[in-house]
Amino acid sequence: MIKNPAFYVNSELCTGCKCCVIACKDKHDLLDGVMWRRVIEYSGGEWLVTGNVFEQNVFAYYISISCNHCENPLCVKGCPTKAMQKDENGIVWVDQNRCVGCHYCEWNCPYGAPQYNEELGRMSKCDFCRDNLAKDEPPACVAACPSRALDFGGYEELQKKYGKHATIAPLPRPEMTTPHLIVEPNRHSKPQGSMAGTRGQLVSNPEEI
């Protein structure tokens, strides 16, 4: 089993089709409204007057995101019951036998990864498809991506393979949690913290994530 698993997302290749979202929901039989993997849309732009002409600088790109199994997971630190844990392989998971469903992990995660399961009354989150990894199979989201925008592997190996990229908007500051996530920027990517999006710092499709 790989150590410190991480996801790679190529924003240049991602078309926002949400196959990864559906594959994850299907595999884990998630309830309505619970999405361990989500596709963020970031868009903006405006008309500019250049001389006697109007030009536009409209942009839009997608980032598929789930739990990043961070180096310094704030959800684990904040959990009052110690239900949120990081296992020996570096996967952050929820022990359903301890979780009290207080939502504190959800508030502490800058990526909104832990999500409430109303049926269980407890929190739930991406476990990196641990059963698949044990069988040397890829996580459901990676396997389902039609444009091969997703990849996975040990964090160090992925860094060697794809390099280390700067975080792009609208992702939060990586210093907060040191996420095991490598994002290949889109050609239109805005730097982290940019306010160029239509809704300021926020994502363009909040109702979908």
Partner: protein
Amino acid sequence: MEGFISLTFFTVLGQTAAGMAILSAVFEPRNDQQRYPFWVIVSLALMVLGGIASVTHLGYFLHSLYTLTNPFSSPLSQEIYSVGLFGGLLFLSLFIRGLWLRILLALSGVLMVYVMSNVYTIETVTPWNSSITLVSFFTTAILIGAVFLFAVDTFKNKGNEEEILASLTGWKTIVIALAFVARIVLVPLQVIKASTPVNTTLLDSQLTLTGVAVVLGFFLIFRNALRELNQKETCSVPLFTRMVILCLILLAGELCGRFLFFSRYINFGM
């Protein structure tokens, strides 16, 4: 959002109980001759109601004992300990009298309000992550704590309008006014500190609601009360009823303000 309603009640009621303990230790440290002080009973009732509200926020109550297992890392776990400490000392205050217990109770109240604010002062929820949260929680404790001590006095002196009027012109009114002024002062301070627009909006909405409640309540009650003091006229509504209305208006204003605080939560912290 439903979860936030229960947290609104839990935080406001808990802070009110703490405020009552702090203010009574500061202003009436030796006034504890009664065996079952009425204000302690009221504080305890508020803590019990707040406790019930907080439990309804949990998805799986049966695991709640596990919340005591991470006090060194989780502010939420620390909050539960501090609530337990304050509640325990409050319960002891029903039976045991003494200055040392009053001081200990007040200190545990301060600790509880401080730890409560720590729970929400988190980097990932920008609108909550500022010193406003701490100041706001303490002003709630002082403002509504004084109002409830006021209500307790009024209840004890029911029928004795002179005593109620005396209470109206005493330290509790000054504390209520000061706590409210503290809130108003916070606005320019925040602007100077270049706060985010969201924080300013949050504070504005809290201020507006509490402010409307305070101004309305004081206008309705103080004006007539002071006129009565000067024996210019009498009001057909008993003073006791007006005091109860004032307390309820203030509490409602505070609950609305706190609910707005919670509604500023942003799911995806970006």
